[in-house]
């Protein structure tokens, strides 16, 4: 049995890569993941990847931020130390709006980005799980986990080549080394 773990199809054109995905799917070859130097529109639908739910997180973080700062202002200005400013009410809601808005935005931004980093496992110093160095430059890479299926490697090779892959790699290691 061969020691190949992953077969990578390297394309230099995103449309040919999409053709490659179609060809693999038509032949029931499961695709592990696709690595590209730029976002490819329409690829999620093709690979059956669900919509991102980050929007819900953003909304909830926004609500949290607005509530937190409004509570702080209410506590400070109305509850803890109300001031008599020309006899006007201490609970001066219009004055509280700008800061409430700012913190709604602040929490949304920080919370959404933190959720994105957490869900995608991005953090400073993380070792990159990259399969090919050129996937961040000029190659559109389809990765196929060949340990998960019994399709002959030659068939996968041919499918990728026919779709226009400029190079097909048979890798024994999953990721490239950064050492």
């Amino acid at each position: 049995m061969s020691s190949t773990k992953f077969i990578l199809g390297l394309f230099e054109d995103p449309d040919e890569m999409m053709d490659g995905i179609t060809a693999l799917q038509q032949n029931s070859v499961p695709i592990y993941d696709v690595y590209t130097p730029m976002p490819i529109h329409g690829i999620e639908a093709k690979l059956g990847i669900k919509d991102s739910r980050l929007g819900y997180a953003a909304f909830m973080f926004g609500c949290l931020g607005g509530t937190v700062i409004f509570s702080i202002i209410y506590f400070a200005m109305v509850h803890d130390w109300p001031m008599n400013i020309g006899g006007k009410p201490a609970f001066a809601v219009p004055d509280f709006i700008p800061i409430t808005f700012e913190w709604t935005v602040l929490y949304t931004a920080l919370g959404t980005v933190a959720t994105f980093f957490f869900a995608t496992h991005l953090f400073p110093g993380r070792t990159p799980r990259v399969m090919d160095y050129r996937a961040t430059n000029d190659r559109f890479v389809i990765a196929i986990d060949v340990k998960k299926n019994n399709i002959p490697h030659e068939d996968i090779n041919n499918l990728l080549k026919e779709a226009g892959a400029v190079e097909v790699k048979h890798n024994d290691r999953k990721y490239v080394s950064y050492e």
Binding site: P37, L47, P98, F116, L122, P128, N137, Y178
Partner: protein, 490 residues
């Protein structure tokens, strides 16, 4: 999908022949991967001398106190707040480009957003330094935060626009930084995968382990859209709140409801002028003429003429409303502004912001690099004068004629301002050296469809309306990086 053919009448966003994805990476990373040239070193030397001057002047201010500035009991705000508002305003163009143009799906933003956002961050740093410097006792800055303390607790006054400003500027800086850095991740990964040794280690650390998998890109785009969606009202709120520092006072000349939209328009106006000042030089020195094209320059000039005209209408409206209000203090403030002892500052402002930029209505001027750069400097000067005029002319003759005074800057005032420009350029030049000045991944999106070479193929195929083809070729004549002779035969 990335490959649909764009209408031929749209001008190309990437010029040049034989541009490939690898070529884009190569071109944009050249300043990062190669040692800098002489132009960079000259610029950096001058800028760091300015930064040193800033360090000295701010240290002097802290040591001897605010008395080292030219302020007096009548004019208690002058060059410091002028500089603060000027820098915050400059920052606004970056957010406009990165957020508002993203929401409007303006693809030309892709090649200028990165450097414009960097400009935003550095401009806000300069602005924030003014806030701290003008406190005189900078360690007291902590009292602008609502922290529990031993005086009660004595809280900050949340009714005050000055406190709104603390929250607005800090939020703006944080969100801009997060937006910018998130957008940088894929490009840092590109540098990482091309570098070796220590450089690879550093960029690997900074890349957060970016891989470019499908799910990562999908989330990345969602995050970009959300951040753009919240940054758009944010940027409008920030300069509105800055303007409320003035507008909610009872000072004639400040106490006007027109201030928020007028300040926001002025901010975008001056910000785009600064983007032009920086990018016209950067594209030449870094050899990025194929990515920052004449189309970009002209598009920015169109925004400048629009926002500049809004500012002009605002100046005239203010003047008219002062007359129409029948409030004699308001009327005096405006007569004094344009015909009093500071007439020269007010007319410099009016000429630089309103009259001279009107030449941008001419296409010849809009598409001339020299003229655009010259105008961008004029606008930067004019917008500095605008803030100076609003602040000082309103203050120097207040309700009590016995305390009327003039403001004269000291050399420390001047040094803090000139120095802050040095700080700004030092940071910007360092940015050009270590990070890609153009969003590589986003520019790659434009290659199929919006590039000159693709459009040339469409032209050569001959399956287009002849008038549209002629229109397109006519549009190309303004591009400085395109040799129009190539299109004779096509």
């Amino acid at each position: 999908m990335s490959s649909h053919n764009e209408s031929i009448i749209r001008e190309p966003l990437i010029t040049g022949n034989n541009i490939t994805y690898a070529q884009i990476t190569e071109d944009i990373l050249r300043p990062v991967e190669k040692l800098p040239g002489r132009a960079w070193w000259i610029g950096f030397s001058v800028a760091s001398m300015g930064a040193t001057l800033w360090l000295f002047a701010v240290s002097y201010t802290f040591w001897y106190g605010i008395g080292s500035w030219g302020l007096n009991k009548t004019v208690g705000w002058a060059w410091d707040i002028t500089g603060f508002v000027w820098w915050v305003g400059i920052g606004h163009a970056g957010t406009l480009i990165s957020a508002i143009l993203l929401l409007f799906r303006q693809k030309w933003r892709n090649s200028i957003n990165r450097s414009a956002e960097a400009m935003t961050i550095f401009a806000v740093i300069c602005a924030a330094s003014y806030i701290v410097a003008h406190m005189g006792r900078p360690w007291m800055a902590v009292y602008s935060l609502p922290l529990p303390n031993q005086y009660g607790s004595l809280w900050v006054n949340f009714n005050s626009p000055l406190i709104w400003d603390v929250f607005a500027i800090s939020t703006y800086f944080t969100v801009s930084l997060v937006f910018w850095y998130t957008g940088l991740l894929p490009d840092i990964a590109t540098i990482r995968d091309r570098a070796t040794g220590l450089r690879r280690k550093i960029y690997s650390f900074m890349s957060f382990g970016w891989t470019g998998s499908v799910k990562t890109w999908q989330r990345f785009e969602t995050v970009s859209l959300i951040l753009a969606g919240i940054s758009t009202p944010l940027v409008l709120s920030v300069h509105s709140i800055v303007s409320m520092d003035f507008a909610t006072s009872l000072e004639p000349g400040w106490h006007t409801t027109i201030f928020p939209p007028y300040f926001v328009a002025g901010a975008i106006f001056s910000g785009f002028a600064m983007v032009q000042t920086l990018l016209l030089i950067a594209r030449k020195v870094l050899g990025l003429e194929n990515y920052i094209t004449m189309f970009h320059i002209e598009a920015m000039n169109k925004i400048i003429i629009l926002t500049g005209s809004i500012v002009m209408v605002a100046y005239c409206t203010e003047f008219f409303i002062a007359y129409y209000s029948q409030v004699e203090y308001e009327q005096y403030a405006f007569i004094n502004r344009y015909f009093g002892p500071y007439w020269w500052a007010s007319w410099s402002m009016f000429c630089c912001n309103c009259i001279i930029p009107q030449v941008l209505w001419f296409k010849k001027v809009r598409t001339s690099i020299a003229a655009t750069w010259f105008l961008s400097i004029i606008i930067n000067i004019g917008m500095w004068f605008e803030r100076f005029v609003i602040i000082v002319t309103s203050l120097h003759r207040d309700f009590l004629p016995s305390s009327w005074a003039m403001f004269y800057p000291t050399w420390i005032d001047v040094s803090v301002f000139v120095g802050s420009i040095g700080v700004f350029f030092t940071l910007f030049l360092l940015f050009l050296r270590v990070l890609p000045s153009i969003a590589i991944a986003e520019v790659k999106l434009l290659l199929k469809g919006s590039s000159e070479q693709e459009k040339k193929k469409i032209l050569q195929s001959g399956h287009i309306d002849a008038t549209q083809g002629a229109f397109y070729k006519d549009a190309l004549t303004k591009f400085d990086a395109i040799d129009i002779a190539e299109y004779e035969k096509v």
